[in-house]
Subunit: 696 residues, 2 copies
């Protein structure tokens, strides 16, 4: 995919320059010094030759169809250059030039024009306003990044060009290699999702890193990237999460930063691992780039120092991983072969005076243990420690047992050579043990992404015609808010019901209705003339049996007649008296990027004070709905806490899935709230008490 971008046979540099310091000069010299093996065509009407290459006055004069064009001319003439490229037959262009959407209304228009021209010729564009792209395996550096990275398995896709310069420079010092570096710029045409897809298709890439301020098309992102994550890990850092942050983002590349919750939900849905800072981004990427994927969450630590092992153990617990329990056999072997003072339980402490021999004994035995999924080796430089020899032992055992191994050779000068050897041998090393454990945790998370089974497509039988009819009515009216009755009808069409209720004209009907519903019940007067039912004496709650029902019916009738003798009375509504285990809230908000976002949480203070809610993106299937329910802190209150009965989780799942389906069927839903929804005991379903829907 996108071969013309990442392994083109020929590249034209339009705006190539002889003046050092100019971007057009930097880019050409990067292509040359990167040892690109294809043909290079500099284009500049004022120069016959640049850097020893024949220079062409325009694209049409090039005696070939360049597969890729890199454009570094002033913004004003970019469109005409693309037109020329199109005519020539070039199908891929990287537009470095700035002065488009990011620069104001005029630039925005120019960008729209650019896209139109490109479309006309079927020419795809990366950029504009970008740093360019690098593919280390094609020896292709069409960027003005001052550094060509070494070859590696990490693809880095960034919406910030400056970040790429910094990362490349930093990675050279850290000796981290890349397969591809892609600066996306304004994403006028080619989107982040397509680029992620293209890196997923690239066999040299093992892990895809992604710095994003705002995606181009949220739904497209979900569709494409979900498929990617089932093959390769994608790790994202979303900038502009907080209020001020997103202000900064919109003044930066003019991208509209979506709300944090929407991105969080989108990453969760697509299986993208989200990190909260740059250091984590690279820490995690090294584990994925270098090591086999972890099998489970049971971690063993081998160390020559107690302190760092305690920190590592703390980190294992904090991250929700498990310290592996070693088998008796392993422990007795360790006991036999390690000094008496050594700790043979996990974390295994070979003691400060251990050489590589101690590590060899510990590692061999720990790594062959079935109960261990991942191993952290901690080495602190003591007087007798032999870091390089110990690194050899680590590498040998990692190769032999094919388990996930990370290290924390702590220190500086004394461990430098050992760390270099580890890196060459694809063992990621971390300055401090906590960071190593964080990387293992990301692997465990990714395993869960891979294990995710897509549930069967949810099919909810619903009376869509009726909903459409109500929608028609609403569209004719001024208001976009539905009446309570209309809202209930719509939810009813999807099987989301309020309390069971029937109209009774007389005492006999009241009693038979109450029996149908089951006591206790509530009785309410139904009259178009009575607005304040309670005031009129028209409401009785907690009616327990036939006798009380009869009495209540008669009393209500009597009260109401006294209250307003002229009232037209349709009867008395007998209603289920709703008693559940817990009140919850299900809400929907249509996000500008990702579409309908379903919120779930416990009702009342849980939402209002504690903000203990979670989000999912429509369509939410049964598995996702269940995960949402389990994600909130208050979940305990649904799952049989103390004396509380277990709530009907299945029924709740069903209700969430129905709301999801409703949003799919009627995209014009803008906001929606079921608050509260009463969740009854296991097997007894849910009851919607209040609800509202707002349409666009």
């Amino acid at each position: 995919m996108f071969e013309q971008f990442f392994s083109p046979k020929s590249v034209a540099v339009i705006g190539a320059s002889r003046e050092p310091g100019k971007l057009g000069s930097q880019i050409l010299s990067n292509i040359i010094s990167g040892q690109y093996q294809g043909k290079i065509y500099p284009v500049n009407p004022k120069a016959p030759e640049i850097s020893g290459l024949k220079c062409y006055p325009d694209i049409s004069s090039i005696p070939d169809v360049p597969e890729l064009a890199v454009i570094v001319v002033p913004a004003k003439i970019v469109c005409s250059v693309i037109e020329e490229c199109g005519k020539k037959g070039t199908k891929a262009a990287v537009v470095i030039s700035a002065g488009f959407k990011e620069s104001g209304p005029e630039g925005k228009k120019r960008e729209e024009e650019l896209v139109e021209v490109a479309k006309k010729y079927g020419c795809r564009i990366i950029g504009p306003n970008c740093l360019g792209i690098i593919d280390t395996y094609s020896d292709l550096n069409v960027s003005f990044a001052p550094v060509m990275p070494t070859k590696g398995s990490i693809a880095f896709i960034s919406q910030s060009g400056a970040l790429i310069s910094a990362v490349l420079d930093w990675s050279r010092k850290q000796k981290i290699g890349f397969s591809r570096i892609i600066s996306m710029g304004n994403m006028a045409d080619v989107s982040e999702s397509e680029l992620i897809e293209s890196c997923a298709a690239d066999e040299k890439t093992k892990v895809i890193l992604f710095y994003v301020e705002g995606v181009k098309d949220g739904r497209d992102f979900i569709n494409r990237v979900s498929k990617v994550t089932s093959k390769k890990p994608v790790i994202a850092i979303k900038a502009g999460l907080t209020g001020s942050g997103s202000k900064a983002a919109s003044s930066h590349t003019g991208s509209l930063a979506g709300m944090a919750e929407a991105y969080g939900a989108a990453f969760k849905k697509t299986g993208v691992l989200q990190v909260s800072n740059m250091e984590e981004l690279f820490d995690l990427s090294l584990a994925f780039a270098y090591q086999p994927l972890i099998k489970g969450d049971k971690i063993a630590v081998v160390t020559n120092a107690g302190g760092p092992a305690v920190l590592a153990t703390d980190a294992v617990e904090k991250q929700g991983l498990k310290m592996a329990t070693l088998s008796e056999q392993t422990e007795s072997t360790l006991k036999k072969n390690l000094p008496p003072a050594a700790n043979i339980h996990n974390p295994v402490d070979v003691l400060g005076d251990a050489t590589e021999q101690g590590y060899k004994v510990a590692l061999e035995n720990v790594m062959k243990e079935d109960n261990v999924d991942g191993v952290l080796v901690i080495v602190t430089p003591q007087t007798i420690t032999r870091p390089l020899e110990t690194a050899h032992v680590v590498v040998e055992n990692a190769n032999r047992y094919k388990k996930t191994v990370v290290t924390s050779f702590m220190g500086g000068v004394s461990v430098e050579v050992a760390i270099d050897f580890l890196r060459q041998s694809k063992i990621p090393n971390y300055d401090f043990p906590e960071r190593a454990i964080r990387a293992l945790k990301a692997m465990v998370d990714y395993v869960k992404v891979l294990e995710r089974k897509n549930g069967p497509t949810v099919e909810i039988a619903a009376d869509k015609d009726m909903v459409s009819k109500i929608l028609q009515q609403v569209k004719k009216s001024e208001s976009r808010n539905l009446t309570d009755y209309q809202a209930r009808e719509i939810f009813g069409a999807y099987g989301i019901r309020g309390p069971e209720r029937y109209l009774a004209k007389n005492v006999d009907e009241a009693i038979s209705n109450a029996k149908k519903i089951g006591y206790p019940v509530v009785a309410k007067i139904v009259s178009p003339d009575i607005l304040h039912k309670t005031e009129s004496g028209g409401v009785r709650i907690n009616i327990l049996n036939d006798e009380e029902m009869k009495k209540s019916f008669n009393e209500i009738m009597k009260s109401v007649k006294q209250y307003l003798p002229s009232a037209r009375i349709e009867g008395i509504e007998i209603q289920e008296m709703v008693k559940g285990v817990q009140e919850v809230i299900i809400g929907v908000k249509k996000d500008i990027q990702f579409g309908h976002l379903i919120m779930f949480g416990l009702g009342g203070i849980f939402v209002e004070v504690l903000k203990d809610v979670t989000f999912g993106i429509v369509p939410v299937d049964r598995q996702e709905a269940l995960e949402m329910i389990k994600e909130i802190k208050g979940y305990k209150l649904l799952s049989g806490f103390r004396n509380l009965p277990e709530a009907d989780i299945d029924g709740l799942v069903e209700t969430i899935v129905k709301v999801s389906q409703m949003c799919q069927d009627f995209p014009e839903i803008k906001e929606l709230d079921i608050n509260p929804l009463v969740v009854k005991e296991k097997g007894k379903g849910t009851v919607m008490i209040d609800a509202r829907i707002i349409f666009e």
Copy 2:
């Protein structure tokens, strides 16, 4: 303080050795190669001379009183060596030798003996089982750490010797300097608190780092370290926080790891800044070691790249700091002097093609702005960027405006020289902007520690005699649990009361009591023969007026007589019907290290499901109590949320302070619970509903 340890005029090395690789050899050679200027006396009966120094067969043969003794002999003879030192008049000893408490029961006995001998002679001991100590300004390295650190302002005190080796090695690469390095070992005699105090007294030390698994004496820690933090920042990492972690700790140095909450509360009380990993420990220390303390929480960011600035802005918000708003004047100056596309609002973006000139304009104007407390300068290496020259601009402005400045020169090779210059000029640089912001946040936290005013000593009038009397009774009985009545009496002695209640013998008394309390009231039968008051018809709630009172009184009497005609009836208790704003819980647990720990939280699910509680260490003064109340997430529910009235926070503070006083007066309190305590509306106090106390 502890001059004999950190700047002794002479050092005896008992167990000095000629064999390289032996600790006794390593230590002696460290002292020599560290260029220690005092006298060095190696002691070894088998060698006439070591490393060119005259060697003595025993301590008594030394023609001088060595101020410091370093002991590296086998554990078995350490006691007799200390005896000799004592006789000689040496008052300070660092015991390197292992084989004490950490090695089992025998070692524990040996350690007790060691302490006794030392005490006899007034000789203080650091260790045993430690790596030794370093004071860079005394050129003193009495340790077997393979590296002598460069001079700096950071003191590092560690309970893990191995961690010191690693940190020293790492710091050499990172070019971080230290004033002192102290390995505490088993803390048989000199405690971590004394060592922290001694570093606070050391004028070369600006910030004290502290790796701790367990403190020696919690109360002593609080007393001493509280005084230190009002002068110098102390940053601590507590290892062994989680379950498995603390298992690892106790098998490590045999220290008894206290519970995480107790340490958290102790650090809070003493003003120690707690970090969660090693990287943070050093990141923060650099800011304190290099920069003037920040004045407030308003941060400005100057950058040449949008992406990292967005990340920095996100971090500012996440950390609870504020992005400074620049004045119109500043912004207009920036507008005039920066390129048109530059962002003149905070974060100020001088753009990717800025040289040091752009930074100069931005920094001068941002730093002289009153509204800015701290500045983060981000530099990404672009083609035109001049990192070193930009670093010079940063340093000049930092020196000129005396504000807190941190940098994130991002990258590797291109910014290395600039970062070196920054470091020499005492500007801390961080690989990524998030870490820089974290360091500023720690400074803001420390400012709050300095601003803390010690409240007036709380004096609660209490009937201690009555409590003592009850305690006597309890001590005589088998049980350590008090009866409900006894518990209420004790709380009452401190003015913590249950619902107001009076016994009424007849209807008239009932009515006058009810009036005294104020309707609504509750009426309850009082009879030694009736255990199930409700069943007997002996309880009426929500009595609203005199008439209902009369009716209830008579009905109760009638019911009870029917229920149990033989019952002896003492009367009817008229009780306040407690209605409050919120139910809370106040609990106490006596921690093995820090003494009484007071827990506060909202009642019910807040405690049980959400664990939304906070801890304070006795004595808790009014200021601390208020902070505790404000710390919990549910605080909103006390401060006038939605339709809820404002709760009586002052009354709640008073109740917490009373509980604190009670624990101080009666240290034998082991556990205590007031659950629930009803907090009424502002001005109306609190009412204890249920309570229990357990004594030791």
